[in-house]
């Protein structure tokens, strides 16, 4: 069964707007990853979070992991068309090396 739930499933925003994508697990996570996928391309690693309360930023993308290590959010500030794609969260739970993934959030940014 799927361990990670992402919301929303799809998101359409106007360029310049901020947005947030959430990833929730029913289990405590060992490590939480965010990936971006463009159509027809592979997965691009964005960030990895391991500690409760951890927050990382890269350019206009910020990811946070809550204190309980069961929920993560990905926040994009002042979105641009280049941010469009599918965002996937992945996590290691109890089984080392056996990452599971959420079902993705499709982001469309309108110019």
């Amino acid at each position: 069964s799927q361990e990670l739930e992402q919301s929303p499933q799809s998101l359409i925003v106007q360029e310049g707007k901020n947005l947030t994508i959430n990833c929730t697990s029913s289990k405590t996570l060992y490590g939480l990853y965010w990936y971006k996928q463009k159509y027809g391309e592979g997965l691009i690693f964005l960030m990895m979070l391991q500690k409760g309360g951890e927050e990382k930023s890269h350019e206009k993308i910020t990811a946070k992991l809550d204190e309980k290590k069961q929920q993560s959010s990905l926040h994009i500030t002042a979105s641009q068309p280049s941010h469009a794609g599918i965002y996937l969260c992945g996590a290691d739970s109890s089984n080392a090396g056996k990452s599971t993934f959420g079902d993705g959030t499709t982001l469309t940014v309108k110019p």
Binding site: Y30, G31, Y33, L43, F45, M48, A96, G97, T106
Partner: protein, 114 residues
Amino acid sequence: DTAVSQTPKYLVTQMGNDKSIKCEQNLGHDTMYWYKQDSKKFLKIMFSYNNKELIINETVPNRFSPKSPDKAHLNLHINSLELGDSAVYFCASSQDTDGGTEAFFGQGTRLTVV
């Protein structure tokens, strides 16, 4: 240089055929993986190899057989292809099997069974 490379990128084949997808990583990683991404974009792990040894084998039909000739390669062979095998298959590698290490993914192979 491509870190994790898969070939082919696209594969269209008829039901019942046998096909292989190749994967190579030049990162010196010890662990390689195969994932299947279904039409709903859900990624599910299929196999994981560490130093040429199988360590994860999820509930995958026997028609799928991974082969790792060396730790830089993990190929996926599929026998008697079925319509439901149509998906995007991703190869990945990581330094080790411990949780918390970043996995690098290939470009994916879009398999279409007709």
